[in-house]
Each structure stands twice: as C-alpha cells, then as structure tokens.
C-alpha cells in the first residue's frame, strides 16, 4: 500500500515538473546575468552590501516589466578570494551559461576573474572594483562604471588644497598634509595616486601606512601629532577608522580638517561608535543623496525608488557602496541591454556598451556614461566622479562638487574635541 502511494506521488510530482517546464516554454526565457561578489570571508560585509544595491536595480526593472518582456534572472556566486573568483567565473560561464557577469566590490577579486571572462569572451561589467589596473590590461571585454582609486586620491587632495587650504587661510604650498592608510590593496592604490600627485604639485606629504588588524594605533596617531600636520587624508576600513579616531581624541591629535576616503568613514558605524566626534569629518567617496537639482528626471526617479526600496528591504538606509551597485546595474539594465540586438550575445552587448553616451547627472549617482573604446584604459567610464560629503550631526551631507551639494561645509577648522 505504502509503495503504491509513493509511486502515485512520484508520478504526480513528475507530471508537475513536466507541466511547469511546459509553462516556462510558453513564457519568454529570462535573461540570465551572473554576479560575483565576496559574500564570505573578510570582504563579505561590503561585498554583500554592493550586491544588495545591484539587486534592487533588478527588482526595479523586473517590476517595470523586465527587458522587452523578458525577466532578469540573477545567478549569484561567492568569491571570497581571487582563486575562488576564477573558479566561480568558470562555473557561471560553463555550467550556468551566462554571457554577462557583474561584480565585484573588491579590486583583487575583479582582477582575478577579469582574466577568466576575457579568455571565455564573456562581458565583465564592473560595479565596484576601482584599481586603475583593471582597465589597463588591454582586456576588450572589461567595462567599469566607477572612477579609479587613484582619482579618489586626486579628488581628496584637490579638495584639501583648493577648498580647505583657503578656508584655513594657509597657502596651498605651505599646507602640511598627512596621509594615513591601511595597507590593503585599496588603500595602497589610493595612496599611490595621491602621493604622485602631491609630488607633482609640490605639496608636503607625510604618508603613514599601517596594517588593518591593529588593536592599538597609538604609533600612527603620534606620528601625525608630532609632525603637526594641518590636514589629514585617510584611507581606513571600519574597525581601524573607529579605533584611530577614538585614539586621536585620547592622544589630543588636533588636526584642522580630516578627509576620509575609505569605507570606515562613510559607513554609519563611524558615528555610531565615536558619536559627536564624527562631526566635521569629510569623506571623499562614491556619490549618494545628491542634490536633485543636479540630476536628470530619470535619475531623480530612480534614486527615490532606490532609497525607498532599499530601506524597506534591508531595514536601514543604503550606503554609497550599495548605491554604486545600484547605479551600475541600472546602467546595464536600462541603457545597455535594451539597446542590444541580442542581449544573450557578448559581441552584441559589447557594441551596445560602446555606444552608450549619457551626460553627467544622468544616473542616480550623478555619473554620466561613456566607456573608453578599446586601447589604453579601454572600457573605463570617463564620466564617473567622486564627491565630498561631511558628517553633520550624525548624518552625511554632500558638500562638493557645488552642483550636487546639499549643505555647506561646517567646522573648518575643526574645533576642540569637546566642541564638535
């Protein structure tokens, strides 16, 4: 008897499967896009954040009716390290049959699977890896939305010498700048660009690299304190940014302005941990919450959609890392794929990517879109830029460039620690 029941249910189940696959024949096949982000290991926190931002874009587009009636389907992969990135790229390409992969938050991950995509002739669409080298290797299938890491260093330095130095009443050739960075790949890339630029401009720069996993940063703080620098530029991750700023207060580091360029300063954990001491700290980083006046109609609508949906889905405000994921994915889904002759053909996607031409202010991040043609720095988006924001009473406000600014900078120079 039991056997008969088992047999019956098996038959029913098989019938269901057959029916369901028949039903899926009737509907148009979804467009499958692979994603590669670090979702476990030490890069997981922000890797996942960026992926979540990109997935909001997928939700938005699918609810708006997909791409010419075809739903967008995401095939996720976890790449905690470069070796895994290659393996997972091969899995997505070989076993899942995707023709287009997006990623990767971290540059070391992006660099590794860029090679795998290039070999297979698959499109690598980069949403977050900013190392300059990603688009300098002559790969013809790599396209990158955000600006480079070294240009982040330029942006911070320019803000220091063009805006902060005059506000502090110091001639820019007399400005003493300290650069503190955790010596991971991201920090080193930014620092490299920044140091080169400072040398060109004749600006005195004290560079202090350190390792991220330090339980005490007294030596770093003291080095800057003893050099009595005016402006501090930093690239720090979350735990070290918190520790550094706590110890800066403890040891009486009286810097006149601080521009952070790493995730440590633009995540909400920073004011959560240091409280009012966060006030007045600038950050240079990816744009979010820009002044709508500087944005296109589409960008305003998409941005509002993104903020609402992200908060609803994840219970917290999106960070700029998530915004990078969203913006890049929206460019892909709204501007590139609809313009292709065949969205399942890499050559066709490539052509469409090279044709996109949108002005600054067009996307929710304010970025325009124009990918360099193959050649030096091919596939790099020339119209992306970094913005300067500032912590004011526990919230970040965009202050620079002017057309996207929502508030004016305050607390320049930084007052005593108990007056912030």
């Amino acid at each position: 008897m039991r056997r008969a029941i088992t047999g019956c249910s098996l038959a029913v189940a098989m019938a269901c499967v057959v029916l369901m696959s028949a039903a899926s024949w009737a509907q148009p096949q979804p467009i499958r896009i692979g994603t590669i982000f670090p979702l476990s290991g030490s890069l997981a926190l922000l890797g996942e954040t960026q992926m979540n931002g990109a997935l909001i874009a997928v939700d938005v587009v699918n609810e708006r009716g997909g791409l010419k009636g075809r739903a967008v389907q995401i095939v996720k992969a976890d790449a905690p390290n470069p070796g895994a990135a290659i393996t997972e790229a091969n899995r997505l390409i070989g076993s899942e049959g995707v023709k287009l992969i997006v990623g990767s938050y971290a540059s070391s991950i992006a660099s590794a699977w860029a090679g795998a995509a290039e070999r297979a002739g698959i499109i690598h669409f980069e949403l977050g890896g900013v190392a300059d080298s990603i688009t300098q290797r002559g790969f013809k299938n790599v396209f990158r939305v955000p600006p480079t890491g070294s240009s982040l260093g330029f942006a911070a330095l320019d803000y220091a010498r063009l805006v902060l130095a005059p506000a502090l009443g110091i001639p820019s050739d007399k400005l003493k700048v300290a650069l503190v960075y955790e010596d991971s790949e991201f920090g080193a890339s930014v620092a490299k660009g920044l140091s080169t630029k400072a040398k060109e401009l004749g600006i005195q720069l004290l560079a202090v690299p350190y390792t991220k996993d330090s339980s005490d940063l007294t030596p770093v703080v003291l080095r800057i304190r003893e050099a009595s620098s005016d402006v501090l530029l930093s690239v720090q991750y979350i735990n070290d940014a918190i520790l550094f700023w706590k110890q800066a207060r403890q040891l009486g580091l009286n810097i006149k302005a601080h521009v952070g360029m790493g995730a440590g300063h633009f995540e909400k954990s920073f004011p959560d941990a240091v409280g009012r001491d966060a006030n007045g700290v600038f950050i240079a980083g990816p744009p979010i919450e820009l002044n709508p006046a500087g944005l296109s109609e589409t960008a305003r609508k998409n941005a509002a959609d993104f903020y609402g949906r992200y908060e609803k889905k994840h219970g917290k405000k999106p960070s700029s890392i998530a915004m990078m994921g969203f913006t890049g994915m929206m460019i892909l889904l709204e501007e590139v794929l609809p313009a292709t002759a065949n969205p399942d053909d890499p050559a066709s996607i490539r052509e469409a990517l090279l044709r996109v031409d949108k002005p600054v202010g067009f996307t929710a991040s304010g970025w325009g879109v124009k990918f360099n043609p193959p050649g030096p720095n091919g596939g790099h988006n020339e119209r992306a830029f970094w913005v300067i924001r500032q912590w004011q009473d526990g919230e970040l406000y965009t202050v620079y460039p002017k057309q996207f600014g929502v508030r004016s900078p305050i607390l320049v120079p930084l007052p005593a620690w108990d007056k912030r």
Binding site: S40, G41, S42, A44, L45, E48, D183, V208, P209, Y210, T211, D213, S214, S215, D216, L217, T218, P219, V220, L222, R223, E226, I238, N239, I242, L243, K246, R249, Q250, L251, G252, E267, S269, D272, A273, V274, G275, D277
Partner: protein, 296 residues
C-alpha cells in the same frame, strides 16, 4: 616632547600587552597541560565579544557582563573539551591542529551566518574617558582591561600554586602517566584546564568590547599574537606568558612609531624567530622543552 612620546608608547604598549597576556595565559595553560595547540583560541575571544555585545544590547554594562561571560565560557570550554578535544588527545599533532582549525572555521562562519558581517559596537558613557598622567594619556577602558587582566592572571597563578586542584593540574602538566598513577583523574583535570583557558579568552573578549568592535574575523589576529607570546615567553610558563605579552605590546608600539606602523608585526615575528633560534625554550621556558617537543 620626545620623552613624552616614548613614555606614551611604552605605557600604551604595556596596557595593550596586558590583554595579550590574558589571552596567552589561557593559551599557555591549555598548551602546557592538555598539550593541545588551540588554533581556535582567538575565535573564542570573538564569540565572547559578541556575547558581551548582546548583553549590552539588553542593557547590561560590559563590566557587569564580564563575570557572566567568563563563567559561561568556562562551561563552554568544558563542553568543547568533552565533545571534541577529548577525542583527539592521543592523535598526532597534525590531527589536533586541524581539529582546532576546524573549530575556528565553524565559529567564524557561524558568527557570520548568525549575526552577519556587520561591526558591532558597544558605546558606554566611559568609552571615551581619558586619564592624564602628566603628558601621558590613557583611556579608562584600556586601564581597566589591563588591571583586570593582570589581577586575573595573578589569581590564576595563585590558584595553581596554592590549591589542591592547582597541584593536580601542575602534576598532570609535568607527567600525565605518573599523575594518573597518583590517583589524579586526568580527564577531569583536562576538562577543567580547558575550561579555565577558555574562561580567560572569554574574559579577554568582554574586556576588549568597550574598546574594539566585534566582527566575525576579529579573533584571527589575536590567535597569532597569543601564539607568539606563548612561545616567546616559554611554553607552559605563566610568568613567561605575562612578560611575553607585555614585551610584544611594547615592541608593537615602539616599532610602530620609530620604524613604521606597517612593520610592527615584522618586528615581533623577527624577535620571535630570533629567540627561538638562539634560546629555543623561550625567555622563561625550561631549557630542553623545545627538544623533547610535546609528545602526546
């Protein structure tokens, strides 16, 4: 000014070293008695940091939570010993290494799954409080961590010297077979010792939380430092672990300032290799123990 800077670095190093010492005391106890190389030691610290954090979310001050966490980790340590470690006691070193590494992987990925990779921050009224000793400024939380760590190590030392259980533990550390012949219940001693070692890790975690955020991979760095300290100070030596901890803390601070902050690890690893090559028993270890190694 330079004297003040030097003083600040040394004091900061000693305070940091206090926490390292507490970590290492727990590790050296397990290492010296149970003869297990516990690669998951730092991850016990991580779990304790989370425990303290969640108690703080329930409005319990970290310093009030510390005794609770310590007691809980004592029991947790005994449970882990009973369920996992005991089964490896007669296995080769390699197997022990990979069992504790497996524990480490399980703890880290469990923390990641259960509590996400977010940084958990405890913020109390005294988080930012600073005590000034002339030009030298130390945080209250750093000072408390140091004092509690030192007091605990001292108490543990007295416990081993002055009590009957302590004597049993020391006897087992010296010779497992003879201890068994003398009527000491060796498995119970192991169970207790492992619990004590993990309780130290738990206390260290509770003391660290007001200073440092909790996240899944926070323990990995502490494990490595604790190993360096334990072998530097001399295997199984209590005073060695404490002096080694302070030494590593001070070296970390001084080399960070005078050499380069990115070379601080290089400084203590170089010292570590140097000591082992020149005086293989560690600074305060028993001469010859490195040659006999730790036989199961």
């Amino acid at each position: 000014m330079t004297i003040a800077v030097f003083g600040q670095l040394v004091i900061a190093g000693i305070l940091l070293g206090g926490v390292y010492a507490l970590l290492s005391v727990g590790l050296t106890l397990i290492f010296g008695v149970v003869r297990i190389v516990n690669f998951a030691h730092g991850d016990f610290v991580m779990l304790a940091m989370y425990a303290t954090y969640f108690l703080w979310v329930l409005n319990l001050d970290p310093y009030l939570a510390a005794p609770l966490v310590t007691a809980a980790f004592f029991l947790f340590g005994m449970a882990v010993e009973r369920l996992v470690i005991r089964r490896t006691l007669t296995a080769p070193h390699l197997v022990q290494v990979f069992v504790t590494l497996g524990l480490s992987v399980v703890f880290v990925s469990f923390a990641h799954l259960a509590w996400s990779a977010d940084f958990r921050i405890v913020r109390t009224a005294y988080s930012a409080a600073v005590v000034a000793l002339g030009p030298i400024r130390v945080t209250v939380v750093g000072l408390v961590a140091f004092l509690v760590a030192m007091a605990t190590s001292g108490l543990l030392f007295l416990f081993l010297r002055k009590t009957q259980i302590g004597a049993a533990i020391r006897a087992t550390a010296q010779d497992r077979q003879t201890a068994a012949v003398m009527g000491i219940e060796v498995p119970r001693v192991y169970n207790l010792t492992f619990g004590l070692g993990i309780a130290c890790a738990g206390l260290a975690g509770a003391l660290l939380v007001p200073m440092y955020p909790a996240f899944p991979s926070v323990g990995l760095g502490y494990a490595l430092i604790a190993f360096v300290v334990v072998i530097l100070g001399g295997l199984g030596s209590f005073p060695g672990a404490i002096i080694g901890g302070l030494l590593v803390g001070v070296i970390e601070m001084l080399s960070g300032f005078y050499l380069a902050p990115s070379l601080k690890e290089a400084a203590y690893f170089a010292l570590f290799i140097g000591v082992l090559v020149l005086r293989p028993a560690g600074l305060l270890g028993i001469r010859g123990s490195e040659l006999t190694g730790i036989e199961p």
